[in-house]
């Protein structure tokens, strides 16, 4: 089954361990990963998305695309916010914080938590992944071991969200394990 997964971690290094673990599960054949990225929210509530240092057009596209995807993962309450706020999510290039915004505003946060419980809190990081999994056990078990909380939404449900636009939601995810050089610890 094709699912979009968001795994929320309390700190950045754990998020990268989570990312690495997802690709390891892929290497073992337990799941198939189509794409991943890591999103961070700083203490001021601003979002940044891991991205290779790239030209402005692509960085903006990544911000818009991942913003929309986060909105979709947050369910119907997050959808409108994701579509509106996605453009302002900064793609972090080389560790720099880009233009940012509060993706899930205070007035919709409670509702989105109620519906899906997916919210990245200030200071937290989340691994966002597009995966194929026959059962949820491998990801749930491994992420729990690392201290991550897993949220899922089916690929079909996301594709039905017409506001995501012409591009598939995973277009802005890296189709391989990408960790910014400054955050590599192994």
């Amino acid at each position: 089954m094709r699912n979009y997964v968001a795994v929320v971690f309390d700190d950045t290094s754990k998020a990268y361990e989570g990312l690495h673990a997802l690709w390891q599960l892929d290497g073992e054949g337990a799941i198939t990963v189509f794409g991943t990225t890591v999103v961070h929210r700083n203490e001021w509530g601003e979002y940044q998305v891991d991205s290779k240092e790239t030209h402005a057009g692509l960085a903006t596209a990544v911000g818009v695309g991942v913003g929309a995807l986060l909105g979709a993962l947050a369910g119907p309450a997050g959808a409108a916010v994701g579509a509106a706020g996605g453009a302002a999510i900064g793609a972090a290039t080389g560790g720099a914080v880009g233009v940012t915004t509060d993706l899930v505003r205070a007035d919709t946060r409670d509702q989105s938590r109620y519906e899906t419980a997916f919210v990245v809190g200030a200071g937290q990081s989340a691994v966002i992944a597009d995966v194929s999994e026959d059962w949820t056990g491998p990801i749930d078990t491994r992420m729990r071991e690392l201290g991550g909380i897993v949220y899922r939404r089916s690929g079909g449900a996301l594709r039905d969200d017409a506001w995501l636009g012409d591009y598939p939601p995973s277009s802005y995810l890296y189709p391989y394990e990408y960790i910014p050089p400054s955050d590599r610890v192994w």
């Binding site: 054949g29 198939t32 189509f34 290779k52 240092e53 790239t54 194929s132 995973s170 277009s171 189709p175």
Partner: protein, 125 residues
């Protein structure tokens, strides 16, 4: 060599191709073009690997791989165009090259996922 190993190898090559293109896109000026010069040949090499492994695959997998070949052919085309263009046209062709490479990995991954899923059902019987 098993068919799943073949697919894994082809997928790794396509992932690497996307990585090379996105690394090139991160650079500036003439350095980008120097990096892009190798892309059409690399894409051709992945196409050849896919075609070589297609015979042993089942029909749904073949369909995904055929679509991956189309995306890789588009990658070749747009990378070649980017070498001859400049300004906005250059930026557009880089984005298209990256999107095509991304689509090829997507299709190969779909083939891999289908194979793993079938294998897993077979094992659980």
């Amino acid at each position: 060599m098993s068919t799943s190993n073949d697919l894994d190898r082809v997928r790794a090559a396509a992932q690497q191709l996307h990585g090379v293109i996105s690394d090139a896109a991160a650079k500036r000026g003439e350095v980008i073009k120097a990096d892009l010069q190798a892309i059409p040949q690399k894409a051709k090499s992945v196409i050849e690997s896919i075609k070589a492994s297609m015979g042993a695959q089942k029909e749904p997998t073949k369909k995904n791989l055929a679509e991956a070949v189309k995306s890789l052919e588009a990658t070749q085309k747009h990378a070649a165009e980017s070498l001859k263009s400049s300004g906005k046209a250059f930026q557009t062709s880089i984005r298209q090259t990256l999107a095509d490479a991304r689509a090829s990995v997507q299709k190969i991954s779909e083939a891999v996922a289908a194979g793993r899923s079938a294998e897993s059902k077979h094992t659980r019987k």
